[in-house]
């Protein structure tokens, strides 16, 4: 073999060997799919779309949101976990991924994903009708403690939903049984808020942004949020810790993730890009306008958050008698 041919061969071989590295370094080179397990127009869909548009601006390739609904989130979450780990199919995972497996509805857990960034967390609030006699959450809590089991009625979402678990966790933190307050299931926060305004419930535990319109209409008020800090969009609402010295917090969170075994270069690129998205004024304005909680964690932090959420939600579910495994 002549020298030139050998050099050419070596050169080509080196180039071929380097191609994956080059491709990764340049990721993304084509459009990226972002799967959303929830319906178009909903909260998760809205957050993912704003993230997608900001990522597109940041990384230069189209980021398309595709709604993969069904099975109360299972279908979309399963699709994200089963996607090819080349970094071109990612998605948004939500708190349900830490709840569904406890009910035996899926084998998927947070361990089936590569976390990339926690982008939002909505803590539950405690809302009462505006004619309610309870002016603060301590008064409400005292009344609950004094009531007989099942006398008080609360709602906010369906049976076993995240806000139901919030109630169970709050009652547990107060030393009460998880079912001391009777949970009335509803088809989401909006019907629950309507029933609250119509006088059919004692209080609700859905998030404040979900209650916002009715609160602003003067038909309800929010007594506290179960969060470590006050919400930036609703600074007048105290936290549980401030209002009654009970340190309980939880939330419906949303984050971007991909399947397992993604190339490390892609993970670090996304990690950094999501941080830039979170810090951007567009993102902050969007979430603040909606009242969604501006909470961020990078890839590693998201991983830790997932583990902690899985454990605490599992505890709440077992206490509420909802866990099957």
């Amino acid at each position: 073999m002549t020298t030139t041919t050998r050099r050419t061969l070596l050169g080509t071989g080196a180039a071929l060997a380097a191609t994956p590295a080059i491709a990764q370094a340049r990721w993304p080179v084509r459009p990226v799919q972002l799967l959303c397990p929830w319906a178009a127009g909903g909260g998760t869909d809205a957050v993912l779309r704003i993230i997608a548009s900001l990522l597109q601006r940041d990384l230069g390739q189209p980021f398309n949101v595709i709604n993969r609904t069904g099975g109360s989130g299972v279908v979309g979450h399963a699709a994200i976990a089963a996607a090819a780990p080349d970094g071109y199919t990612l998605g948004m995972i939500t708190a349900e991924i830490c709840m569904l497996h406890w009910q035996g509805l899926t084998e998927l857990t947070f361990r089936n994903y590569t976390p990339l960034g926690l982008m939002n967390n909505d803590p539950p609030g405690i809302q009462v009708n505006n004619t309610s006699p309870y002016q603060n959450v301590r008064a409400l809590a005292d009344a609950i403690k004094a009531s007989r089991p099942g006398q008080f009625k609360a709602s906010g979402t369906g049976q076993g939903g995240i806000w139901h678990l919030a109630l169970a966790g709050w009652l547990g933190a107060m030393g009460l049984r998880a079912d001391h307050v009777r949970w009335v299931p509803s088809n989401g926060a909006a019907p629950a808020m309507q029933d609250l305004a119509a006088g059919g419930l004692d209080f609700t535990t859905n998030s404040v942004p979900e209650a916002r319109a009715i609160i602003e209409a003067g038909r309800a008020r929010s007594l506290a949020v179960m969060a470590p800090e006050r919400l930036s969009a609703f600074p007048n609402i105290p936290t549980l810790k401030e209002a009654m010295d009970v340190d309980y917090s939880t939330g419906a969170w949303r984050g971007v993730a991909g399947p397992l075994n993604m190339p490390p270069a892609v993970v670090s690129t996304m990690d950094a890009a999501l941080k830039r998205v979170f810090d951007s004024t567009d993102y902050k304005d969007f979430l603040n306008n909606r009242g969604f909680g501006l909470v961020y964690a990078d890839a590693a932090g998201f991983g830790r958050h997932l583990a902690a959420a899985d454990a605490s939600l599992g505890d709440a579910m077992k206490a509420a008698g909802l866990a099957r495994s």
Partner: protein
């Protein structure tokens, strides 16, 4: 596929019984006295009652007389399975074959089954899938699978 009222009534009775049985096996939920079993049970009983009444021919007086179509041979009656089978085909094959191919096959087979001439069927099968693809993929961002024959746009 006109079945006698006895048969449809019997089907309803068995369906209702199955629903009631399946429902009764659902575990109750803490905090709810009316559990998930209640509705299936109630509906099941209702279906059984309706099935019995229908099998006995009650209420038939209200019915408009059914137009009798020409009787078909068994083989040609199987033609009615073509649309659902084509839909199953779409559901199972579209990811692998891609939208354009699957759609073309669907349209062609359906047209032939409905009695179209092979020529017209072929023209339809070649022209409609690209139009539908254009409208849904380009305009509405619906992720139609590319498969073996990706669209040029």
């Amino acid at each position: 596929m006109q079945l006698s009222d006895r048969i449809t009534g019997a089907v309803l009775v068995s369906l209702g019984a199955a629903a009631a049985w399946g429902g009764s096996r659902l575990p109750p939920v803490p905090g709810q006295d009316v559990g998930p079993a209640a509705f299936p049970l109630a509906i099941g009983f209702g279906l059984v009652a309706c099935g019995v009444l229908i099998a006995l021919g009650i209420g038939r007086g209200f019915e408009a007389p059914q137009e009798e179509g020409p009787t078909h041979s068994w083989l040609s009656s199987l033609r009615v399975l073509v649309p659902p089978l084509l839909l199953f085909f779409y559901a199972l094959a579209s990811e692998a074959l891609g939208f354009l191919l699957t759609a073309a096959v669907m349209v062609f087979v359906a047209a032939i089954a409905l009695g179209a001439r092979p020529g017209s069927a072929a023209i339809l099968a070649l022209s409609t899938p690209p139009l539908v693809h254009l409208a849904f993929y380009k305009l509405l961002s619906v992720p139609l699978p590319a498969g073996l024959l990706p669209a040029p746009w």
